[in-house]
Symmetry: C2
Subunit: 412 residues, 2 copies
């Protein structure tokens, strides 16, 4: 298999077509306005005959469509620009979290075509029961996608835990899961997605990783570097370096919730002491604000906290200032280590960003060596709680864009 | 310019030769034993005629030489394997640190051909005076290289500070430097290196970055991921991900010395409080061991500390245990965040590793979520204090291997 980011060693005939398909499709995906065949030839260095043949394949496979013709500017046929298809392959993004399930469908052009969130405390349920509910939500999303003429090419599921390559959830402390074989439990029903070479039918991934991909998907173009921190009951981070998710040596990066703030601080669910999560996890913040035991769902409690802070409630303001300072201490360490120019406050932190941001910035400016001449941007996430499901669906779409030949060769 | 790691878009004729040169030279560099032209053709997919032409160019340019012929195994001429030349281009690595200067020369095959260290406390000197001493050391290294038939193709200088793209040292707190234009100050004499397209005559880089590259150079083959932490008066880290140095969004990654251990801990030279450096910087460890003010050079003091610890001195053992615990708290946070499977104790930490390693491992096993099923290796550096100069010289060599056409096209 030849991937566009793999050095070709020597380009062989068989893979040359795959390569050209990916190069032309990538140009169409990245273009500001629909490029013509002639512009694609000029931009890629391929001959016009090659570009025409490649474009025919992409049109026949519902990967691109022709945009409305632009007015004639000279002799000859009007040039028709090419755009990504919105009735071809799509990605399915799923999320299972402590207190909600979500499903979403993203088309090849990156548009969210379907999005459902179902609130429920999943902690009392077994993993099999929780996954059965998720399968139901996924089937609805699939039926909706089919009605819109889309074909699901793959799925990605976000879980708040550590996942290995085979989709085994090693540990999801806040769900009480340990060694849960998600693909086996979820894959009992009929297949959700078409078989596409190079696109796994189901990828299980850490919630914070997929949320960071969602933010990448929703954010400005280019190859940004940022840390996306999701504040839920647990805290996770996704690290995007040069436009790509950094997963770590074994795929378990981003456990920022267990960065020590005070080595001898309060005990943490992980068995250690003084972790960031004990200061700035959702439950810790709510408890500090006097909202613990109110028995509200977490998102409702967060909304309530934001309302109280907005109204100037001293306990709410004190809790958010304390959490923001602890978050800032941790993030200053991360920025010193990784030299990131942007930190995105996601998940439950997004609606609290007006109060968390100032103390976070204060700690960064106090502790980051380069802050004086190289400011760090701290901003709320664009997608908030939807980020992980959108990011999962987007990761499927990116696989198709990276290797369209797999989609074109799928069994009819 | 075509680099082997850049997707070619469309391969044009002009760059095809460059590409083939890099592919064949890369194969020779990576081979376990000297490959023949026939083996190179089989391994690259290029024709034998193309390989022969490419090899002629590489031989003529002193990038490869023919190894001794192996015994005939059949009909035809004996096959002569190809190896990297040891009388062609070489890299110059330089280091300026708080209490020493160093210069080293590494040949294309990766061998260290020259290495000099000159001890002196550089803090009383101006930047211009310190760099004049370094220029003298560099000139000696160059003369030595020339005597051995080597041509210096580029130089890299390690400094204990934050450096921008133009080689301006923005801040080197332990040298007392701020905004020092190193290339302008060092480049006053005759040019040290040949002009080679694609190889900058002088790269100024952070000491911890180049030390990590040195460790990469000296360590096992492959594409490892590790953190190399250098414990000197200041503490720096170089982060290697998948065999490549991670520099951060602006090139300032690795400031691990300012990871907060206790947010309200002792004041740090950086202006903040409780940074790792205040617990495990060389001066902090020596003070805790009762060796402060002994007025010994730092490396002598470190040796003395290791001797005392080896003899069971309680103050020395207590100081090292405390430093190891603080180091472990910081490293556990880094491993949780980045999921690295290896931590290398470098610089002044290397000789102290027997005492630092156990408390570091204890904190990692206590605080890293994945440690139970995925152990982290903590080991002393292979190169110790020489790492940065070797890494700098090696980075020059890698540039030539990545784009040999630049070397071949240099003015006679």
């Amino acid at each position: 298999m030849t991937r566009p980011d793999a050095p070709p060693g020597a380009v062989r005939q068989g893979s040359l077509r795959e390569w050209n398909l990916a190069v032309v499709l990538g140009r169409i995906a990245a273009a500001d306005r629909p490029p013509s065949r002639a512009e694609l030839a000029a931009g890629t260095g391929l001959t016009r005959a090659t570009v025409s043949a490649v474009v025919e394949d992409l049109l026949a496979g519902r990967l691109v469509t022709e945009a409305e013709p632009t007015p004639r500017t000279g002799a000859g046929r009007p040039s028709r620009g090419l755009v990504l298809a919105t009735d071809g392959p799509a990605g399915l993004g799923l999320e299972i979290n402590v207190d909600y399930l979500a499903a979403c469908v993203v088309d090849l052009a990156g548009r969210v075509r379907h999005h459902t969130v179902r609130r429920a405390d999943l902690r009392p349920l077994s993993a099999a029961e929780a996954l059965a509910r998720l399968a139901d939500l996924a089937a609805h999303a699939r039926a909706d996608a089919t009605r819109e003429g889309l074909t699901l090419a793959g799925a990605a599921l976000a879980v708040p835990g550590l996942v290995d390559d085979a989709g085994l959830v090693r540990l999801a402390p806040n769900l009480g899961w340990r060694d849960v074989p998600v693909p086996a439990l979820l894959g009992k029903g009929p297949p959700l997605t078409a078989h596409v070479d190079g696109v796994p039918p189901l990828v299980v991934d850490n919630e914070a990783n997929l949320a960071a991909l969602g933010e990448l998907h929703a954010g400005p173009a280019g190859r940004p570097s940022f840390l996306h921190i999701s504040g839920e009951v647990g805290i996770g981070a996704g690290i995007v370096l040069d436009g790509a998710l950094y997963r770590g040596a074994r795929g378990w990066s981003g456990e920022i919730g267990h960065l020590p703030i005070r080595p001898d601080g309060p005990p943490c669910r992980c068995g250690s002491r003084g972790c960031l999560e004990t200061y700035t996890g959702q439950e810790a913040i709510l408890a500090a604000a006097g909202l613990a035991g109110a028995d509200l769902p977490a998102d409702t409690a967060t909304t309530r906290l934001a309302e109280l802070a907005g109204a100037g409630d001293p306990a709410a303001l004190r809790a958010l200032a304390g959490a923001g300072t602890a978050l800032g201490v941790a993030l200053a360490g991360v920025v010193n280590l990784l030299d990131l120019d942007t930190v995105v406050l996601g998940g439950g932190y997004a609606p609290l960003a007006p109060w968390l941001r100032p103390p976070v910035l204060a700690e960064i400016s106090r502790r980051v060596l380069t802050a004086a001449w190289s400011p760090v941007t701290v901003r709320p996430a664009t997608l908030g709680a939807a980020a992980a499901a959108v990011g999962g669906a987007g990761s499927v779409v990116r696989r198709i864009l990276a290797r369209p030949a797999g989609w074109l060769a799928r069994p009819a």
